[in-house]
Every structure is written in structure tokens, then in C-alpha cells.
Symmetry: C2
Subunit: 141 residues, 2 copies
Amino acid sequence: MDSEELRNAGLKVTIPRLKILSLLENSAERHMTAETVYRLLAEGGEVIGLATVYRALAQFEAAGLITRHHFDSGQTVYELERGPHHDHIVCIRCGRVEEFYDKVIEERQREIAASLGFTLSDHALTLYGECNSPDCPGHQG
Amino acid sequence: MDSEELRNAGLKVTIPRLKILSLLENSAERHMTAETVYRLLAEGGEVIGLATVYRALAQFEAAGLITRHHFDSGQTVYELERGPHHDHIVCIRCGRVEEFYDKVIEERQREIAASLGFTLSDHALTLYGECNSPDCPGHQG
DNA sequence: TGCTCAAACGATAATGATTCTCAATATAGA
DNA sequence: TCTATATTGAGAATCATTATCGTTTGAGCA
């Protein structure tokens, strides 16, 4: 249960935190901005202060429950830490985000960091391009 | 000359733009925030409005003269587009930025995008870790 | 179950980065 | 040089995020 996750993370179990965690777990969209979390909760009748949303997201991130990404588009999104590590590809037209994992790239990153004298602790790889989904506004045909 | 670059970019040649471009070309530090550009110019006796700095950087980026990066640390930096493409590794302690290029990673990215149905137009890869420079505050020994 | 207190909440003020507004000024071309 | 237009600078406005602070709530215990 979500209560467990919060307790394990050393966080007090509160209604707002449970609602936010639940939203992150049950939404079709895995990548959300703080604003989006706030809005979706409000639309679902759960009005939680925006400050609380930001606080909770920061705490969840510190606890390792979620991950934060700064895309070059400028938007900051949060995503539930679930399953193995992966990177992202973002459509520059419709904003759709897909995930991928590539073993070769992961390995090369470690080697590169080592060769430059760095102890690698994290990385961010995001590809940008045009998706060819029929729903994408840039889709031809 | 810089005037050429501006003209080629379709931008009117003005004093502020020349100063900013010159700073980017002649500074030891290749990665700067808008604030930094503003401050360095001011320290050099060239007081250029902050709004103008932001505008010029945005125009230079649109013209392809410089590139903007949003690091996960939150800072937005600009860098002169010079020489071949490269990615970055940032020290999480001292903020030092190094560049690198890896052919294997570049190729894998294209393949991945294609396999996901995207037409790749750009990418951002940043590694985060601890550098082992003697000047880094986290350096041991 | 009720009590107590620190932690968390929500509203809103504050902050920091970036963009916009607009009157004054500078540039490119005739 | 003159003119039309683009650019500049100062400061207001905006946007995302964080801090403040009085009120409320959760967790442990009698």
C-alpha cells in the first residue's frame, strides 16, 4: 500500500501525500509537472495546496520514490521511479514522452566518465524529434 | 569578424550584440548563464541591460550561433556553437563542466529514435558526477 | 479513546529567472 | 544626411518555485 511506501521513506502518512502518490501511480501519463499534479487533483475534487504539491514532490524525490527531469524545452517533470532505469525521447511538436533503455549507451557513459576522471553518479539523456503518431499535430497525411 | 556572423544570421549589427558575442568567443569559460554574461560585461565596464542580454542570447540561439542547455541542477547555460557536436559532464560539487564526444553513443541514439518511430532532430546528454580535481571542494587528500 | 506536540498543511508573500512594455536611441539604406 | 524601422534599457509583469506563518493533523502514549 502507499502508506507503506511513505513510512519506509521516513515520511509521515498524510492525506495530501497519499493523494499525490496515488495520482502518480494511477495516471496514464507518467510524466507530470507540479502544476499538472495540482490541476489533476483539483479536477478530481481533491484540492491540495500548490505549495504542498511542490513540497511533497521534493520529498518524494529526496526519498527516491520519484525522479525529476529538466527538459531543454524548459519544463520540469516528475515521474514515478518504477522498474529499471530508462531515458526519454520527447516529441518537439506534441510533447509526447516515450522511454527507452540502451545497454550500450549506459556502458559507454561509465567509461567516458572514468576516462575524464569523474565518478559518475547520475546522467540525463533526452532525445528530441518528431514522432509520427497520427495524433501529432505535425503528422503528414 | 563578428559583424559578419551577425549579418549572416540576419541580425542587425549593434554594439551590445557585438560585445556579447565577443565575450562568448573570448572567455575561458565556455558555458555561461545569462546572469554571468551580464555580470562579466559589467565588470569589464560594458553595462548592457539584462533584458538585452536575454534577447541577444535568444536570437543567437535561434540563429544557431549558440546552444542552450538546461542542466538538471536547474541552471540554464549558453555556449558558443563551435567545432563538432559534443555532450557534457558536470561536477555535482563544483559545477565544472567538461565536454566529450562519443561516436558509439551518437550512433545508438539515431538507431533508438528510428526504432521508436521518431525523426531525431536533437538530443541532450549530460553526465553528473564528482570530478577529482584538486580544486573541487569535495576532493579528498 | 483522548491528549500532546512536532510535523504538515494551505494561503499567500517572497524570490529568482525570464519576458514584456514602451519611450528613447541607433542602424541600414536611400 | 534623412527616414523608417529595429534595438535598447529601465522597470513592470509574469511564471515557476520556495519561504513564512498561523492553523490543522498524525503518531505515540496514558
